[in-house]
């Protein structure tokens, strides 16, 4: 083994311990040197281990918990472990989806951070052989009274729009929540959904001794390499100020990359042995994982890797997170076919190595062997850590939430509709091209987005959800609620929930309370998933979401996809015509723990106990599903933040209707956030049939009118408001706050 002169020798590394700054512990370093490779790793190897053994790549802290997820189910073709999960949707077709977080990069550089987040998850989808057909973005920011948060929101949204619009994948949904806990730690989670013929399924495998490893896409630069190595200016005389780890997205190149890879998958499947994107830890993680999964080895010559800057070290080439790059494994002798296709798309494609049968990971640079370690030591031998776990003190002896007194329900409703978490997100989503590909049947703004599957009767419903205020109060029940709310959105849109992906955004795993929250919410999610038959087929973990010792609320974002068997069953949340009967499905209690009303009334940090019953949830979802199938519903809308009052108002806006009715609920209960509820509208001719089907699960609330008035008599008062005024409040609030 020869070392580059400027790099510290293995002995110097052992003495100076640069790996600690790269996140590799002393124990791990000793274990790697003594047990796994039997010698001291050189500089490049140490860097590879540091990044491959990071939580981000290895899931060493979260794996013991992630195993508790439920990944079975008759539709599962590919569960966690590949670029994305795959579910059977009939007709030999499959849906592919995954979500990923880009929280920290989006805080540092919001436009490019969010844009490259979109680009990254798209590569995971088409690397499976699927055409990306939709994306969704789940965002959290601090409150908008701070200019910094307005800036982050504006720039993140612009970045998502710039990338998604240019590449031509409709951004059809998502969510945005605001809370001071996200100050200094915004969340940017992006989910992408793809559609494929099952025959096209590809996996990230480097199989077949002698087969070629082909690098394709953008040139490798010094982007996104671990900050620590950046600060130590040892390989460059450039001023630090001239260097930047920020990755700039190139959606144009990614469009070419998508089209070219899908062309190869469709037309030359037999010579393409495996394909994977270069995501976190770029070239090393993609190549080592492909070899690990295929139980093979790889040898690569780094001089052949297309490079953007002169003088890059092996360490830098391997760890670079330059965007828009893919790694392919192609049958020996057939390389030219693949290279020709990429050439037609004007993309750089180079054979950089080949598959070996020794299960060694070998890298050459400038004619020297710079890395020679077992593939398993990089990927499979990572030592899992079960972290200490402790229930947070705040969750002992919890008091119940107080029921707020509501004297003027119309004022309360207006105030809630103006809360940025509740208000219309149109100011954001109108910047997204939600209709490109011409398949979007339900654009942003309803419960779930719906994208039809061209040339079939089918459609896919999709949503992202998580109420982190609930998770904070009870991660287990909150986890169940997150999945249930997502399912409710799918069901209200006419779909059957078929699976989920997730982004687990948490604090530090070294904090026992954070770790406990992660564990509990995963168990809650798992239980709800099993109940709804929605396996977890992919996901992503983002930990260390904290600034100055303050962690965010645990925020396990759930991305769910549902199948609509017949486009005739697509249902939206809006009431359609005057004179329809409006029913409330589900019972309402005094549930104000973590509610938006609680926050509005000054209880910024949520308090109280959650109240939730999975059986009731399932029963109410079944009712709505059945009623839609029987063609009885004109609209269906799930109740979430802000309760009945907010849901009722939202259903009126699209067709500018009014409402008149009476309820046994109290003024305050209009804003209770009891789970498992829907409001639905039914034509007069269908009322009897609907009531017979619903029995006690639904009560009549009133009727839609063509007047500009919402009037609801309650047990202790009356809500009266102009529906156009409510609409103006709801529609204008976010745009105003963003200015």
């Amino acid at each position: 083994m020869q070392e580059l002169k400027t790099e510290p020798t293995p002995a110097e590394i052992r003495a100076q311990k640069p790996y600690e700054a790269w996140g590799l512990s002393q124990r791990e370093y000793d274990y790697i040197s003594q047990k796994l490779i039997g010698r001291l790793p050189n500089y490049t190897e140490t860097g590879l281990f540091a990044v491959m053994w990071s939580e981000h790549c290895s899931y060493k802290d979260s794996k013991p918990i992630l195993r508790k997820f439920w990944n079975d189910g008759s539709r599962v073709i590919q569960g966690p472990g590949e670029g994305a999960g795959v579910l059977d949707i009939g007709d030999d077709q499959a849906v592919v989806f995954k979500a990923e977080s880009h929280n920290h990069p989006s805080f540092v550089e919001p436009f490019e951070g969010a844009a490259t987040g979109v680009g990254g998850i798209i590569r995971d989808i088409f690397s499976m052989g699927a055409k990306p057909i939709a994306s969704l973005d789940s965002l959290r920011f601090g409150e908008l009274d701070k200019p910094k948060n307005r800036y982050l929101l504006t720039e993140c949204v612009a970045g998502i729009a710039a990338y998604g619009n240019c590449i031509g994948i409709p951004t059809v949904g998502g969510e945005i929540g605001f809370d001071a806990v996200y100050d200094g730690n915004p969340l940017v989670n992006v989910m992408c959904v793809g559609l494929m013929d099952q025959a096209d399924l590809k996996r990230g495998r480097a199989t077949g001794t002698g087969n070629s490893i082909i690098y394709v896409g953008a040139k490798t630069g010094r982007d996104g390499i671990h900050g620590a190595t950046f600060a130590s200016n040892e390989f460059s005389d450039e001023k630090a100020a001239d260097r930047s780890a920020v990755q700039v997205g190139d959606p144009f190149m990614e469009k070419l990359l998508t089209d070219a890879c899908l062309e190869i998958i469709h037309d030359h499947s037999e010579i393409l042995m495996g394909i994977q994107d270069m995501g976190a830890a770029g070239l090393v993680s993609s190549s080592a994982e492909m070899a690990s999964k295929a139980k093979s080895g790889v040898t690569m010559n780094l001089d052949l890797v297309p490079q953007r800057e002169p003088g890059m070290s092996a360490y830098e080439i391997m760890l670079s997170e330059s965007q828009e790059r893919m790694l392919l494994c192609v049958k020996k002798g057939e390389e030219q076919t693949v290279l020709d296709i990429f050439a037609r798309y004007d993309l750089d494609a180079v054979v950089v190595g080949h598959v070996t049968d020794e299960r060694q990971y070998r890298l050459y640079q400038h004619g020297k062997l710079v890395t020679d370690v077992p593939v398993t030591s990089l990927v499979d031998d990572v030592v899992e850590r079960k972290q200490p776990s402790k229930k947070p003190a705040r969750l002992e002896n919890v008091q119940s939430a107080q029921t707020p007194i509501v004297q003027q329900p119309a004022e309360t409703l207006k105030a809630l509709l103006a809360q940025p978490t509740i208000a219309s997100k149109r100011a954001v989503f109108k910047q997204y091209d939600s209709q490109v590909q011409a398949n979007t049947a339900v654009t942003p703004g309803s419960d779930a987005a719906v994208v039809r599957v061209r040339h079939t009767k089918k459609a896919l419903a999709m949503t992202t959800d998580c109420n982190a205020r609930y998770i904070y109060l009870d991660p287990y029940v909150g986890g169940q609620i997150a999945v249930s709310e997502a399912a409710r959105n799918i069901v209200a849109s006419g779909g059957i929930p078929i699976g989920i992906t997730d982004c687990l955004n948490f604090g530090s795993p070294n904090d026992p309370e954070s770790y406990w929250e992660l564990d509990q919410s995963v168990q809650g999610i798992a239980q709800a998933c099993e109940r709804f038959d929605t396996p977890v087929i992919s996901g992503n973990v983002s930990m260390y979401n904290e600034t100055d010792g303050h962690s965010i609320y645990p925020t396990p974002m759930i991305g769910m996809v549902g199948l609509i068997e017949d486009v005739a069953q697509i249902t939206t949340q809006s009431f359609k015509t005057a004179g329809d009967a409006v029913y409330l499905v589900g019972t309402t209690g005094d549930d104000f723990a973590g509610s938006e009303l609680q926050k509005l009334r000054g209880q910024i940090t949520p308090i109280g106990q959650l109240n939730f019953n999975l059986d009731a949830e399932a029963a109410n979802q079944r009712l709505v599903q059945q009623a839609i199938r029987q063609g009885l519903l004109q609209s269906a809308h799930d109740l979430s933040e802000g309760g009945l009052g907010v849901a009722l108002a939202e259903a009126l806006f699209e067709y500018q209707l009014g409402f008149e009715g009476k309820t046994a609920l109290t003024n305050s209960q209009l804003f209770s956030e009891t789970q498992s509820r829907f409001i639905v509208s039914v034509q007069p001719k269908d009322q009897a049939e609907f009531e017979a089907l619903a029995g006690k699960q639904a009560v009549l609330l009133g009727r839609t009118t063509d007047q500009d008035v919402v009037q609801l008599v309650t047990a202790d008062g009356q809500l009266t408001a102009s529906s156009s005024e409510l609409k103006a409040t709801f529609g204008g609030a976010l745009g105003c706050l963003m200015k």
């Binding site: 619009n165 240019c166 109108k430 011409a438 039809r452 486009v567």
Partner: protein, 223 residues
């Protein structure tokens, strides 16, 4: 009737147009690459939306040099119909086949929304299936759709009835609310709204189909 959909690197509405013609108009369509040099076998050329060459520099600025553009120009000069939608409109102005230019939207943001339009001239081969002053709704989706031309050009556009569509509530700052114009001869139309996204009820409306039906009617009259 044979439609060519010209696909540039970065075009992303080419398939949408293809399906609008084949699935909804039930006519023949072919997606032809930007390297094609002969388009004489086709009856209509469609230039799709998207971000040709990333729209880096300016929308359409790089696409105008693609090899296919000479054939597009020859096709237009022969009086045959050329329709540019969104990025296609930008390409046609950059290539000099239509006057004026498309600037950044007034608010400097991308806008995707259904937009109410007025048909200003129903005498063209792209609009004959509409009535004059008919109110229609088509989706827009663009960041650079703010039509600009100088006063003299605008006067000419008016005199020669080259304004085909206008916005009812100007969304982007376009001069004179212009959403679509033709060339002087009337055989080249550029428009920012997307008719191919409004050809089936499930997409939210079918007003766009009439643009393609107009072309079909005009063609049937000539054969």
């Amino acid at each position: 009737m044979k439609f060519a959909v010209v696909s540039f690197p970065g075009s992303n509405c080419d398939e949408d147009l293809y399906y609008a013609i084949t699935d909804d108009l039930h006519e023949d369509a072919t997606i032809v690459p930007h390297t094609t040099t002969d388009l004489t076998e086709f009856d209509v050329i469609l230039i799709p939306g998207g971000f040709s060459y990333g729209d880096y520099l300016r929308g359409g600025a790089i696409a105008k040099f693609a090899p296919v553009m000479a054939a597009v120009k020859a096709f237009a000069q022969a009086g045959k119909p050329v329709l540019g939608i969104c990025n296609g409109f930008q390409i046609l102005t950059e290539a000099g086949l239509l006057p004026g230019t498309l600037q950044h939207n007034r608010q400097m943001r991308f806008i995707c929304e259904p937009e109410p339009l007025l048909v200003e001239n129903s005498q063209t081969m792209f609009t004959a299936a509409f009535q004059d002053q008919q109110q229609i709704t088509l989706p827009i989706a663009h960041g650079e759709g703010n039509y600009y031309c100088d006063d003299a050009t605008l006067a000419k556009l008016r005199d020669r009835h080259q304004i085909a569509f206008t916005y009812q509530h100007n969304p982007n700052g376009s001069v004179s609310d212009i959403a679509g114009i033709t060339n002087e001869a009337g055989n080249v139309l550029g428009m920012m709204p997307h008719p191919e996204r409004a050809v089936e009820a499930i997409q939210g409306g079918t007003d766009g189909l009439l643009v393609f039906k107009s072309l079909l009617q005009a063609h049937l009259r000539t054969v």
